[in-house]
């Protein structure tokens, strides 16, 4: 797969363009990826236009209409404080998508940087970074996130950070292994021969070549991080009331599961659909960027 990537990103502009076109075509041919992309696009639009499409203020209680089932006034019913569930879920898409994007960005940024350093310099740098990554990997993801939150404190942003941090190691490992093979390639050696500095080699020559696996990892990771952030909010460690984060809404329906099951069901469905959407899209992106992988 190495040489294909070099062509993708190191070749001149028109070739890159046609490469992108080919990727795009492959993506569109994949029906599941299109469905996933549609779902993701739908939720992105919902999040962007939330204030316009939400029929009610998501945080305004209506104590006289608590725990109502779905009705023409409240399509998804009302929650334990009489707040409109549809509006809360619409607004919740903002927090959930944001949680996914922020945590993946943190993970990709930190993980790529560490992977680059580790793979390029090798030796004791590699040793220290990778052993630390191994330590992180030893913990089950969500437990590690909980431990990080117990240091940072509760809150949605801290939940995003902690989910991001626990994903760092997967990025670092993938990037490192790519860098290990790249640094022996001829183009790196020639760069070194003409006297390029280490940082120039890392950021100008190696970084562009690891973009593909990082993009693939990021898309695949989005679903997982959204789920993890929702789980933390469900446990009361992420979004704090009255924030209509999906996990938090779900948690609010827990005590009344058998009296008003819709309160836990709808945010649960929203999480499910979004996560499946991101996973389908992620699979599609991987197949499109890396057709050889699919054949294996």
């Amino acid at each position: 797969m190495g040489s294909a990537d070099q062509n993708t990103l190191n070749a001149n502009a028109p070739a890159a363009k046609s490469q992108l076109k080919a990727v795009w075509r492959r993506l569109l041919r994949n029906r599941m990826a299109v469905i996933g992309g549609g779902v993701v696009l739908f939720f992105v639009l919902v999040a962007i236009f939330a204030p316009l499409i939400a029929p009610y203020n998501p945080n305004k209680p209506d104590f006289m209409n608590r725990m109502q089932g779905p009705s023409p006034e409240h399509w998804l019913g009302t929650d334990t404080l009489g707040r409109d569930m549809l509006s809360r879920i619409i607004y919740g898409s903002i927090y959930s998508l944001l949680a996914g994007i922020v945590s993946v960005t943190i993970a990709a940024f930190v993980g790529t940087l560490l992977g680059l350093l580790s793979g390029y310099y090798g030796g004791w740098v590699d040793m220290i970074i990778m052993r630390f990554m191994d330590m992180l990997l030893a913990f089950p993801g969500i437990l590690l996130a909980i431990a990080i939150i117990s240091v940072l404190g509760r809150g949605l942003f801290n939940a995003m950070v902690s989910v991001g941090l626990y994903s760092v190691s997967s990025f670092a490992r993938v990037v490192r292994s790519r860098v290990l093979s790249l640094r022996e390639q001829e183009f790196v050696e020639s760069a070194r021969a003409i006297g390029s500095s280490n940082s120039r080699i890392i950021f100008r020559h190696i970084l562009p070549n690891i973009a593909t696996p990082v993009i693939i990892m990021s898309t695949m990771r989005l679903g997982t991080t959204i789920l993890a952030a929702a789980a933390l909010s469900f446990l009361g460690l992420g979004a704090q009331p009255p924030t209509p984060e999906w996990g938090a809404i779900l948690s609010g329906g827990r005590d009344v599961l058998r009296v008003a099951p819709h309160i836990a069901t709808f945010p649960g469905l929203a999480i499910l659909i979004t996560v499946v959407g991101f996973n389908l899209l992620g699979d599609g992106v991987r197949d499109a960027l890396d057709p050889k992988l699919k054949d294996k």
């Binding site: 704090q240 058998r258 009296v259």
Partner: protein, 519 residues
């Protein structure tokens, strides 16, 4: 908070797991015959009554131990280990004649020496005691013969008998205390109808009948207390028959449960009141206009009738209306406009931000209530952040001195006023007296008013009940007017039990006595 957070989360996960597995279990898995399981909403933390006043521990301690006198179901004071009592003309010496022929579960005879030993331990300033606070008026305890005990008080204290009903007055066997030392909470011995068998913290506590109980051996073979913090899990256990009795049924589940054929829902009036204590030493709560504004901003009627489904009604005094000495005040009517005006007058036209600490669970607590309050306060510009705390760690976390309280930012704390003595003089003193500032007692609002202090001092020394009531009424009026709390509501205890369980007795303090239970 950090370590506790982690623990809480692990526990939540476990509870979730439990709920799921409970739903999976068919109703066939019933509690065995002759064994009664009580699913209780709070943890059991310490079986030494000298060192625990939390409701979970007390629920168990009430079975193992007995006091000299107790507040019965109607709130009247009844004899238990004391047969009679009197106060001398000096108004500070109280004599109790003890019941004869009573033995502790380990065979130690119950006599005046045992009572003295118990109270000496309770009052020993060198030993830790969470229950001591209520008994600080006792100067010394003397024995007068084998079955008469004299309590000499530092000064006259009219409601002393009510104080003796408090949890620290549950008498421990002196032999067992000496034998086990620091390990005593794991080997509790009292005179009660139930003997300790095992305690697995956070899992269960098992008691077995005391064959030599002076009031007759209990009829069932085992009594199990199972802490189940998740409200829906308690209801499921009750419906499955895994629990025979459950407390704190959520109002939202009440109706559904009432329709069930083999479950009885019992509403029990309680002495507790709920409030949000405001730290009056800190801005902006140092301004009475702000405190009044907050009272006007919260619609307690809506909370009581809609969220708590009529199991509560607004507080109409700083104490619950069933407490002796209660005097009705004019409620702060719900008026957000007035609230905004008061806030503006105080210089907070734009509102302010504050932390609202609320119990994570326990004692009839519903998470919707603080969320509703949060929304109501937001309407007048007051943004509160809700921070949960563990009820079982209430004393350790919340009852802090002014410096610590300021540091931790605990400006608004929602809590229940226990009203353990059932009369207003002691409660008012504990919660509003200057001498009761935390951590000495529960005045964690650091409210201080010389006039109120004087009235309370006077009330505590007035033996004439009519006069005492009049004084207490004045004190309540002043406190109500200065509003160191957002006065919330008094709530019924809602219990569920399976129909084949008979003979449950509720004390006015809301603890269940299981002596006469049958199944």
């Amino acid at each position: 908070m950090q370590k506790r957070d982690l623990l809480n989360v692990c526990r939540s996960l476990l509870v979730m797991f439990a709920v799921v597995s409970l739903i999976a279990i068919a109703p066939g898995a019933a509690a065995e015959n002759g064994r009664v399981v009580y699913a209780i909403d709070v943890d059991i933390t310490n079986l030494d009554p000298v060192n625990s006043i939390d409701p979970g521990s007390a629920a168990v301690n009430q079975q193992i131990y007995e006091p000299l006198v107790r507040m019965g179901s109607t709130g009247d004071i009844e004899p238990v280990l004391a047969e009679s009592w009197s106060v001398a003309s000096d108004k500070v010496t109280w004599s109790f004649n003890l019941k004869k022929g009573v033995k502790f579960q380990d065979g130690t005879p119950f006599d005046s020496a045992a009572v003295k030993a118990h109270f000496d331990r309770l009052l020993d300033p060198d030993k830790p005691s969470r229950a001591r606070g209520a008994f600080t008026m006792i100067k010394k305890v003397e024995t007068a013969g084998s079955h008469t005990v004299k309590f000499v008080l530092a000064k006259p204290y009219a409601p002393f008998l009510a104080v003796m009903t408090d949890l620290g007055g549950l008498i421990c066997s002196p032999t067992a205390v000496e034998k086990w030392g620091d390990d005593y909470p794991f080997h509790p011995v009292g005179t009660g109808p139930w003997m300790f068998k095992e305690w697995l913290p956070a899992d269960h506590t098992t008691l077995v009948p005391n064959p030599n109980y002076w009031g007759g051996k209990p009829k069932i073979s085992e009594l199990v207390f199972k802490p189940v913090p998740e409200p829906s899990a308690r209801v499921i256990m009750l419906e499955n028959g895994q629990a025979d009795v459950a407390n704190t049924i959520m109002p939202d589940e009440m109706k559904r449960l009432e329709r069930s054929k083999d479950i009885t829902v019992q509403r029990v009036p309680v002495l507790r009141g709920w409030f949000i204590g405001l730290n009056v030493l800190e801005k902006p709560f140092d301004d009475v206009r702000v405190r009044k504004a907050l009272n006007h901003a919260v619609d307690v009627n809506i909370i009581a009738n809609q969220i708590l489904r009529g199991t509560a009604r607004p507080l109409t005094a700083p104490v619950n209306s069933r407490v002796w000495g209660y005097s009705r005040q004019t409620e702060y009517e719900y008026d957000p406009v007035k609230a905004k005006k008061l806030l503006a007058e105080a210089g907070y036209a734009k509102g302010f931000e504050a932390n609202l600490w609320v119990p994570a669970s326990g004692a009839g607590f519903m998470p919707e209530v603080p969320q509703a309050i949060q929304a109501m306060l937001a309407e007048v510009g007051v943004k509160v952040k809700i921070i949960p705390f563990e009820m079982s760690a209430f004393i350790d976390n919340i009852i802090k001195d002014p410096v610590e309280s300021k540091k931790s930012g605990k400006h608004m704390v929602m809590m229940g006023i226990g009203a353990r003595t059932g009369e207003a003089a002691t409660i008012m003193d504990e919660f509003f007296g200057t001498g009761s500032w935390a951590p000495v007692k529960y005045n964690r609002c650091f409210y201080s008013n010389e006039a109120v202090d004087k009235l309370l001092e006077q009330a505590l020394q007035t033996f004439d009940q009519a006069k005492q009531k009049a004084i207490l009424a004045k004190a309540q009026e002043m406190v109500w007017d200065e509003a160191p709390w957002i006065f919330l509501y008094e709530m019924m205890g809602v219990y569920g039990y399976r129909d084949n369980v008979k003979g449950l007795q509720w004390l006015a303090s809301n603890y269940i006595l299981f002596h006469t239970v049958e199944k």
